[in-house]
């Protein structure tokens, strides 16, 4: 699935129209939640009306579950199709704190104030005027506060982007266990919210405290969060992504077709992991394999014989070393190597190829033990896998 962001088309008329429609439902949901009222919103700060917490955490879990679902079945590639913000601890902490001051002082935030304006609230209009002025103030002060704007970038790297940090990595846990933990915390928050509402505002609040609805709702969220990881491709026994096509079981494909497919893939500048594994095993000196991932990932694991040349350095490295043989580029997936290959093409290097399905594909197709494979493997293939595993997994330790 391709998004407007992934197609680099966020500035098109179609994207503007889609934004208008999505914004309509965004505003509708906020108004349904009662966020056209600043009194209701600011209730969270006085423990009289915890709607903000209930709505926000429900929305977060629904969106998280959806994103995990679509990415785990291979329909959505987060690294290429979704815009992700890098983490600047200092800027976001200071910004969050000041934003929180403004939120509690006014009872509005930008989105809800727009709904408040639509509901006729003069204080929402005044808030929005203030927010426009605050933005202009930021622009005017930007030369002075620029160091603050980029203060405290995370040391993590994700999708080859330095500073892009995911919570589960920061906490050293898996994505699925974080999803479950987040859902459990939200369920506790819901019960706590209903409880304090009942204490603080007995006439109107705490309607759902210990109610059959809330019990069923929380159970549904927990079960979904726990069951969703079972939908991942490994557990379904098939790989849903692009590699269903060519080399699923090479033995069953007629050799002419196979040769043709190989021509097609080499014409596109791809090399299949099996071919790379065989050629490296035979110490093919015509190959130069470049790992374009950051150094930390290279040090954690790389294909034996590969040199580490992080993405930004690839053009300079290639220009310096010339084009003696075939250059094979790889990263965890194919996006960045493909970009680097295109750039090298433009520089005049024609013998450049990328590893089909990246390191992920290499591990899956060449190094995954026969015993863990869901499809049957011929004796010949099993022997090849054994020799690859011996060669690629034994070094360096």
């Amino acid at each position: 699935m391709k998004t407007f962001y992934g197609l680099n088309a966020l500035n098109s008329g179609e994207a503007f129209f889609a934004s208008l429609v999505i914004g309509f439902f965004f505003g509708l949901a906020l108004e349904r939640a009662g966020f056209g009222s600043s009194r209701r919103i600011s209730g969270i700060f006085y423990f009289t009306d915890m709607a903000v917490l209930k709505v926000m955490f429900t929305a977060l879990i629904v969106a998280m579950l959806g994103l995990v679902f679509f990415s785990s079945v291979g329909l959505l590639n987060i690294s290429t199709q979704i815009h992700t913000l890098k983490t600047y601890y200092g800027a976001f902490a200071v910004g969050g704190l000041i934003f929180g001051f403004g939120f509690a002082i006014s009872g509005w935030c930008p989105g809800t104030a727009m709904v408040g304006l639509a509901s006729g609230k003069l204080d929402a209009l005044v808030f929005l005027i203030g927010a426009v002025l605050g933005s202009i103030l930021f622009n005017e002060l930007f030369p002075v506060i620029e160091p603050l704007y980029t203060w405290g970038r995370s040391a993590q790297t994700s999708f080859n982007e330095p500073g892009l940090a995911f919570i589960y990595q920061s906490l050293g846990m898996t994505k699925n266990s974080f999803l479950l933990l987040f859902t459990a915390v939200a369920v506790l928050f819901f019960w706590g919210a209903e409880y304090v509402e009942r204490m603080k505002n007995p006439e109107q609040g705490g309607d759902y405290f210990n109610s059959p609805f809330l019990r069923a709702f929380c159970l549904l969220l927990m079960v979904t969060a726990a069951a969703l990881p079972l939908l991942s491709p490994q557990n379904l026994g098939t790989r849903v992504s692009a590699d269903i096509s060519v080399q699923k079981s090479p033995e069953s494909v007629p050799s002419t077709v196979r040769a043709f497919m190989k021509d097609v893939s080499s014409a596109q500048g791809h090399m299949e992991p099996e071919e790379l594994a065989d050629r490296l095993l035979k110490q093919d000196s015509a190959l130069m394999v470049l790992d374009v991932r950051p150094e930390s990932e290279y040090r954690a694991f790389h294909i034996r014989g590969a040199l580490n040349v992080p993405l930004p350095e690839v053009p300079a490295f290639t220009a310096k070393n010339g084009e003696s043989g075939l250059i094979v580029l790889y990263a965890n997936d194919m996006t960045h190597p493909a970009q680097a290959r295109d750039e090298l093409f433009r520089m005049g290097f024609k013998k450049v190829t990328i590893l089909t399905d990246g390191l992920t594909g290499f591990l899956e197709r060449c190094l995954k033990p026969v015993s863990l494979r869901s499809e049957p493997v011929s004796t010949e293939t099993a022997n090849r896998i054994r020799s690859w595993r011996e060669y690629f997994l034994s070094f360096g330790s």
Binding site: R32, A63, L85, I98, F101, A104, P110, L122
Partner: protein
């Protein structure tokens, strides 16, 4: 703000409203690839207005300048327009449109409006510093499980609880 004649419908189930909001957020990811945003549209309006007053100054400024001569030609401006229309549709449907200042019974309108203005200035400024607001950071960023967005959300509520006590009179 109480009005018997309008007879507004009571608010619905907040958890179901949250599901609806979550689906809008998911749709924004799947279609746009960006999630939801509100403060970005407001900042664009700021750039447009500053450009009307001082065009060369705005175009040469380090932050607004990169948005060019037509800052309003941007997807978040359209999204914000949609938010207004969706809010209008829903509040009209539930008979919740009521012109006036929302405040406590004994609080003065002047107090409420000055707090709304100062809160707005702080929020508008802070959303630029943090590259997002409740929508872009707290909702969209946390749905993607971004570390920075969790830090933003934690600090947002910390800041809110720090000052709420001092501005409580507006709701009395």
């Amino acid at each position: 703000m109480e009005s018997k004649t309008l007879n507004p419908k009571p608010y619905g189930n907040p958890y179901l409203a949250g599901v609806l909001l979550g689906l809008a957020l998911l749709a924004a990811f799947l279609v746009l690839g960006t999630g939801l945003g509100a403060s970005g549209g407001i900042a664009r309006l700021g750039a447009f207005l500053e450009g009307m007053v001082a065009q060369t100054h705005t175009l040469s400024s380090a932050y607004f300048g990169k948005w060019g001569e037509h800052p309003l030609t941007y997807y978040l401006v359209f999204m914000l327009t949609g938010v207004f229309l969706g809010g209008l549709f829903s509040s009209a449907l539930s008979r919740r449109i009521l012109f006036g200042i929302e405040k406590g019974k004994t609080a003065s309108g002047g107090l409420r409006l000055s707090l709304a203005l100062s809160g707005g200035i702080l929020s508008g400024f802070a959303a630029r510093l943090a590259q997002g607001c409740t929508s872009g950071q707290a909702l969209s960023g946390n749905a993607l499980m971004l570390t920075g967005s969790l830090v933003f959300m934690a600090c947002l509520f910390t800041g809110g609880y720090m000052v709420a006590y001092f501005v409580r009179r507006q709701w009395d």
